[in-house]
């Protein structure tokens, strides 16, 4: 059993912070002793949400991205927030292959990747205010791994 712990990270919406953010969250998640595969899943999901904040939330302009994570027992909850454009139609945005930027060679798979690699995903967004993506994953407990 891991006692509750939390972290908060705030950084500028620059693309070289994508790897920074996913590495920080992965290092924090390591306290739960996840498998390598579970850790990759978390890294990839965080990368998707942070990339979306930079590309879509701020459309490459300057802004702040906030990443928070809470661990307790075998579970991690992560939120990724921007104060950018927001999403008008969240259901549509979450459909596989939907992208508002096909000209930039985006595939529209970001939310699908987050959904597949995490156990829970929810999106709050307001046009002109910003977007908050919340996700959670339950790691297999140690006894299950053996």
């Amino acid at each position: 059993m891991v006692e509750k712990n939390s972290m908060r990270l705030e950084f500028l919406s620059k693309s070289n912070n994508e790897s920074f953010a996913r590495v920080v969250v992965a290092a924090f998640a390591s306290q739960l002793d996840p498998t390598l595969e579970e850790l990759s899943d978390v890294k990839t999901a965080v990368s998707e949400a942070v990339t979306n904040a930079i590309i879509h939330g701020y459309e490459y302009g300057e802004g702040v991205v906030i990443v928070e994570a809470i661990i307790e027992n075998n579970r991690i909850e992560i939120s990724i927030e921007d104060r950018g454009n927001g999403i008008a139609d969240i259901d549509k945005a979450m459909e596989p292959f939907y992208t508002s930027k096909p000209n930039l060679e985006r595939s529209g798979m970001g939310f699908t990747v987050m959904e597949t690699f995490m156990d829970e995903l929810s999106v709050e967004s307001h046009v002109g205010k910003g977007t908050k993506v919340k996700m959670a994953k339950n790691f297999k407990s140690l006894s299950d791994k053996e």
Binding site: S40, T44, S47, T51, I54, L104, E105, R106, M109, T112
Partner: protein, 110 residues
């Protein structure tokens, strides 16, 4: 991210090492397109065995190169031995469009 390219017959062989995300994919895309078009090549092999991270930016990059190859009348294939990478390729439907091989030799058709 390290990228190296090689030309075998009418194939552009692209070897990627490191982490393929939005930040690194821009440069990779430029280098691939430059080599592919400047040398008038037909086919492409993307060797992903050295990647230890890839997200949907990689999907977009591969999908874009698939379209380039098709426009030129060629084909694209992947070299990968990682179940993590293959899971992402499968999720995005890319495995229906191209083949995955274990080695570069197998990916090059005589």
């Amino acid at each position: 991210m390290q990228i190296s390219t090689d030309i075998i017959k009418d194939y552009l062989i692209v070897t990627l090492q490191g982490e393929l995300d939005h930040h690194t994919s821009e440069n990779v895309r430029k280098k691939i397109d430059q080599q592919y078009y400047n040398n008038n090549l037909l086919n492409m092999v993307l060797d992903l065995r050295g990647l230890n991270f890839m997200d949907s930016s990689g999907i977009g990059l591969i999908m874009g190169r698939y379209k380039s190859c098709r426009e030129q009348g060629g084909s694209i294939s992947i070299v990968s031995t990682s179940s993590y990478i293959e899971r992402i390729l499968k999720m995005s439907g890319l495995l229906k469009l191209m083949k995955v091989y274990q080695t570069i030799d197998e990916a090059i058709v005589d």
